[in-house]
C-alpha cells in the first residue's frame, strides 16, 4: 500500500505572488530539479524540513504559510 500525505502547500500561489517566479527559478534557488518542484506542488513529494524552510525563506513567509497540515 502506497503512503500518502495530508500535507498541502501554497507554493504555486506564492510563486505567482512573487513576480510569477518560475518552477525552474525556484528549483535553482533551492538546488532541486524542476520536476521535484512540480512533484511538491502536486503533493506527490514531501520535502525534508530543511528544504521546506528554504522554500519559506525564499518567499519571506513562515513555514505554516507554505505548508499546511489539517487540524
Amino acid at each position: 500500500m502506497l503512503k500518502t500525505t495530508q500535507i498541502t502547500n501554497s507554493i504555486r500561489a506564492l510563486r505567482f505572488a512573487n513576480n510569477e517566479m518560475t518552477q525552474a527559478d525556484l528549483a535553482d534557488r533551492i538546488g532541486m530539479t524542476r520536476q521535484t518542484i512540480i512533484a511538491i506542488e502536486q503533493g506527490k513529494y514531501s520535502p525534508s524540513l530543511e528544504i521546506a524552510f528554504q522554500i519559506a525563506r525564499i518567499f519571506r513567509v513562515k513555514l505554516e504559510d507554505v505548508f499546511h497540515y489539517p487540524e
Binding site: 530539479t33 520536476q35 521535484t36 512540480i38 512533484a39
Partner: protein, 152 residues
Amino acid sequence: MSKIFDIDWRKMTHEEKWTWVFLSTAIIAFIAYCIWLTSQSSSTPLTEIAYVSPMLLAIGSAIISTIFGEILIAATAPKGKKRDARDQEIIKEAEHSGQFLVTIGGMAVVIMAMLKLNHFWIAHTMYLAFVGSAIITSVVKIIYYKKGFYPC
C-alpha cells in the same frame, strides 16, 4: 495503474528516464537469452548447453546499452541539476525493495553449491535473481515517481 505507464519523456527526471532504460535493457536482454536457451533446449539437455558465452553476452549487452542510454540522456538533457534529494531518497528506498531478491538468490546459490548441483542451475539462479532485483527496483522507482513519494 494507467498513470504509471503514462510515459511523457519531457516531464521525467533524469533518474526516471535512466530507470526506464535500465528496466528495458534488463528485460530485453533476459528475454533474448531465454529465447536462445529455449531454442537450444529442444536438441540438447539443459545442463549440457554451452550457456556461458551467450549469458555473458546478454549481461554485457544490457550493461553497455544502459551506459549508452545514460550518455544519450545526459547529452539531450536541459542544463541544470540532474539529480537531487528526491532522486537520492527514491533510489535508496527502491534499492532497498529490490535487494532482498539478490540476498535470496545469493543464499540459494550457496546452498546449491553445497548440494553440488550442476553449475548451469547455479548460474541461472543468480542471473534470475539479478534480473528480478533490477525489475523490482525499477518498478518501485517508477511507481514512486508517478504516484508520489513520501519519506518517513
